[in-house]
């Protein structure tokens, strides 16, 4: 039995369809992330699961219960909101005990349960405080405790950390993971922050414009993107516009960087002259100073000029120092690329330096003119 199942769910607001025919299965006990940009429909999906939106089509199943159309208070799930939505006139203890109170639990039992939850989120001692007296991070913990107090089958989190500053966010992410490990509740976590999804998710889904683009384990989604949108949304990459020089199996591509090379894809549907986008992740590019192909890549030396590797020459345009690393912008032929160097790297590049860029064609990912993946 899965923790959550969505079957062909579609939600429309007037003329616009916020969610289009979405099907998803989350395993019991999994921490599942829904990742996507603003407007992708991820919050709408969450609200449809919680019961605040009614799907026009499709079915929502939580555990063994089909809950489509049921009101929020009849569903065995609870939600942690982005702005926490704590009840301002109640104390922290009363807030956390609210769910059990609605279930008819007597005062003594529900207060004991609330204290237990507050201990779980490390907020013991704040029972008589009011929400207005708490910091953002503390409110977050209380909101989490409140949602867990009802022992839900499914916990929904709607970008709960986006109102916190970066340091606090990172701490809370690890806290959430710890709590998830301890409690084992199935969780669906919505975020637009890819780092957050990678930190937290057992599995994740990428959403774009109301549809599910790809589902999988984070590393897999990163290494093997379904389309150009996923590739560009996760991490950073260099997109190089290439043209098919010679079609067929392993088509030859010409690029504005200078050299042409054979792409290890099967070339079906690609004709001579077609546009192909080549994605080169900065961590896959070996950059060395000078025009000689002896590559030093952040400390790991690559076989110089080895067979199958593509080398191109260019120059450094700009270096942007970002504390622990340096982003180096390069002009290679007619293309603009960037790589990232550790600030402690042995060889520091400066604007104007000549460089050689090397990569293996198998390390790049290829997309056709429509954004689909070429394999």
């Amino acid at each position: 039995m899965s923790g959550l199942e969505l079957d062909g769910v579609a939600v429309a607001y007037g003329d616009t369809t916020a969610v289009k025919d979405l099907s998803l299965s989350v395993e019991s006990g999994e921490l599942f992330c829904l990742l996507g940009p603003s407007g992708s429909g991820k919050s709408t999906v969450l609200r449809a699961i919680a019961g605040f939106e009614t799907p026009d089509r499709g079915r929502v199943t939580i555990g063994a219960d089909t809950v489509t159309g049921a009101p929020p208070y009849d569903r065995d799930c609870s939600m942690v909101f982005q702005d926490w939505a704590l009840f301002p006139q109640q104390t922290v203890l009363e807030n956390v005990a609210f769910g059990p109170k609605m279930d008819g639990v007597d005062r003594e039992t529900r207060e004991a349960r609330a204290r237990e939850m507050l201990e779980l989120v490390e907020m013991t001692g704040h029972e008589s405080d009011r929400p207005a007296e708490l910091s953002g991070g503390q409110k977050q913990r209380v909101a989490l405790a409140r949602s867990l107090a009802v022992d839900p089958e499914l916990l929904l989190l709607d970008e709960p950390l986006s109102n916190l500053d970066r340091k606090l966010r990172e701490t809370m992410q690890l806290e959430l993971k710890r709590i998830h490990d301890r409690v084992g509740t199935t969780m669906v976590y919505v975020t637009h922050d890819q780092d957050e999804a990678f930190t937290l998710a057992d599995r994740m889904a990428v959403m774009d414009e109301g549809r599910l683009v790809q589902v999988g384990v984070p590393e897999r989604v990163y290494d093997d993107p379904a389309d150009r949108f996923v590739e560009s949304f996760l991490g950073t990459t260099n997109f190089v516009a290439a043209t098919v020089e010679r079609a067929g199996d392993c088509p030859r591509l010409s690029t504005p960087m200078g050299p042409s090379f054979e792409a290890p894809i099967d070339g079906d549907g690609l004709a001579s002259g077609d546009d192909v986008t080549v994605s080169l992740r900065p961590e896959r590019l070996a950059v060395s100073a000078g025009s000689a192909p002896a590559a030093v890549d952040g400390g790991v030396s690559a076989r110089p000029g080895g067979s199958g590797r593509v080398a191109a020459t260019g120059a450094v345009v700009e270096t942007i120092h970002r504390g622990s690393d340096v982003r180096v912008r390069l002009s290679v032929g007619d293309a603009e690329l960037f790589v990232e160097q550790s600030a402690a790297a042995a060889v520091r590049l400066s604007p104007g330096d000549d460089v050689t860029v090397e990569f293996a064609p198998s390390d790049a990912t290829y997309f056709d003119a429509a954004g689909g993946r070429c394999r």
Binding site: A50, G51, F52, P72, L86, F87, M102
Partner: protein, 298 residues
């Protein structure tokens, strides 16, 4: 450095700044004094004059005649009793109606909400006496309501809703409820939807959401509605006069009778002063009790 510069650097309001504040407050103070304080002072003075059958009052006298009248006349006690009862009854009903009406308006979608709020506000545009005659038209034995109910077969004989306590209460409600609605609605509109959703999510159905989330949030608005209703109803004049019978006499009606018919100004003034004192005391005691029990206006 001049003295005013030195003072402003030190955080002490300079002389010119203070004069400016005084100058700005002067018009308001003058208005308050002229329109409110002076007449009240005059009323207070008047209540301590001697009664006389030869005129309104004895000029320049100092006497407790008026207050003795209040203390010794059983009719006046009855009237005070009724006035307070009337005030409490109308306030209780007004608060309930205002809360339900404002809640309905708040929950309503666009057009309906505009209609509900517009209806409440619209009634404020008509003068009181005209409004009250409208109430008569609707609620009289041959009025709109009774005709409709008889037509529908709901009642056999018309309901007696004017010229009695019911009439006075209905009329007074019609006067104060719009203000109550606006007061409660103003506070309700600041309620975060997310809190309602959180409550629903945690297992509260709509009635419980109302009890646990909406009402506590609306407390300040309810308090204002209660205060408006109470002070207005204890001082009620046109509603009980036009839609009540002889047994629905409030202190305001008594004052006007003493003043204009009996020409007994010390007595009238004394009744008025006692009424004001009673209302103020009730408000202070009531607010103190509320405030100590929790944050009323916070």
């Amino acid at each position: 450095m001049s003295l005013s510069d030195a003072r402003s650097t030190l955080g002490v309001p300079s002389l010119s700044a203070r004069w400016r504040t005084v100058a700005l407050l002067l018009p308001l103070a003058a208005l308050n004094t002229g329109v409110f304080l002076v007449p009240m002072a005059y009323l207070l003075r008047l209540s301590f004059t001697a009664r006389t059958p030869q005129g309104a009052f004895v000029e320049g006298s100092l006497s407790l005649d008026g207050y003795r009248y209040v203390a010794e006349t059983p009719l006046v006690h009855d009237i005070f009793g009724f006035t307070l009862l009337f005030g409490v009854l109308v306030t209780a009903l007004a608060v309930v109606v205002s809360v339900l009406y404002a809640y309905a308006a708040w929950r309503a979608a666009g057009g309906w909400r505009a209609l509900l709020l517009g209806g409440a506000v619209l009634s404020l545009f008509t003068t009181i006496v005209v409004k009250l005659f409208a109430v008569v038209l609707v609620f009289s034995p041959r009025g709109v309501l009774n005709d409709a109910l008889t037509e529908l077969g709901v009642i056999a004989s018309p309901l007696l809703l004017i010229d009695n306590l019911a009439g006075a209460v209905i009329a007074q409600l019609y006067i104060v409820v719009p203000y109550g609605v606006l007061a409660v609605y103003a506070v309700l509109s600041t309620l975060d939807d997310r809190q309602v959703e959180a409550a629903l999510d945690l297992g509260a159905d709509r009635p419980r959401v109302f009890r646990e989330v909406v009402l506590p949030h609306a407390r300040p608005g309810i308090a204002v509605a209660g205060i408006i209703s109470f002070t207005w109803s204890v001082g009620a004049y046109p509603a009980p006069l036009l839609l009540g019978s002889g047994s629905e006499q409030t202190t305001a009606i008594l004052v006007s009778q003493l003043l204009l018919t009996d020409f007994d100004w010390p007595a009238a003034a004394a009744v008025a002063v006692v009424t004001v004192a009673v209302v103020l005391t009730t408000l202070v005691v009531g607010l103190r009790r509320f405030a100590s029990g929790g944050e009323l206006l916070g």
